[in-house]
């Protein structure tokens, strides 16, 4: 069953970000919040990898990008808080990574 993975750690902080990516399966979605939006930022080396994940939709929370003066990279969609809630409704399973 597809899962929504919600990640809030920076890619530069410990191994949580990389571990989460390694656990994604086809059909899953990844929502980046908090410091994790750093990895979705245009120009960041991680953003390219996120944009090219096959079979996985990647989202970044807009408020966290704006707060840090960042823009989402290519193939990464931004969501507002309502979009965040909708995503949690769309996926039967939720995985929180902190």
């Amino acid at each position: 069953m597809p899962a929504l993975h919600i990640l809030n750690r920076s890619p530069h902080e410990g191994g949580t970000f990389a571990r989460t990516l390694s656990l994604l399966q086809t059909g899953d979605a990844l929502l980046l919040t908090g410091d994790a939006v750093i990895g979705a930022a245009e120009g960041h080396p991680q953003a390219q990898e996120l944009g090219s994940l096959s079979g996985v939709k990647v989202y970044a929370l807009e408020a966290d990008l704006l707060a840090r003066g960042l823009q989402a990279g290519e193939a990464i969609d931004t969501v507002d808080y309502s979009g965040f809630v909708r995503l949690t409704e769309d996926y039967a399973r939720l995985r929180h990574w902190h």
Partner: protein, 132 residues
């Protein structure tokens, strides 16, 4: 006793944690008491200085706006880890300008971009270092 030089370093991104705000608060308090203070942005701390930040949707105080005002507190040096910028796909042109005035009211750039051994050598010159 000779003057002690303080270093406050921020190593985590803003808004995800309180660390950065606490570190900056301490820098400003020390400066307000006339201490010699330098601030350094290391690792994810470099995101404190990106241009165009808007934290209103998060409902958080835009505390990073204090950084360009460091000069008003007579904090004349803001060290930025250049290697950390590069690892994050950031360039110096994406950072806000930070300046200070010298004793003759001439304006100078406060940013000091360093990396590797030169950065480590610089950080080692301070008497007291608080890392956040």
């Amino acid at each position: 006793m000779p003057e002690r030089r303080f270093l406050l370093s921020l190593s985590r991104a803003p808004y995800g944690h309180l660390d950065g705000q606490e570190g900056l608060d301490l820098a400003l308090v020390l400066a307000a008491f006339g201490q010699n203070v330098t601030v350094a942005l290391l690792d994810d701390g470099v995101y404190h200085l990106t241009r165009g930040q808007d934290s209103s949707a998060l409902g958080l105080k835009p505390y990073t706006r204090q950084l360009p005002a460091l000069g008003d507190f007579d904090i004349r040096e803001l060290i930025v880890d250049r290697a950390a910028l590069q690892a994050r796909g950031l360039s110096a042109s994406q950072l806000q300008a930070v300046t200070h005035e010298d004793d003759d009211f001439n304006e100078h750039d406060s940013l000091l971009l360093l990396e590797g051994a030169a950065l480590a050598e610089k950080l080692a010159t301070f008497d007291i270092h608080f890392g956040f």
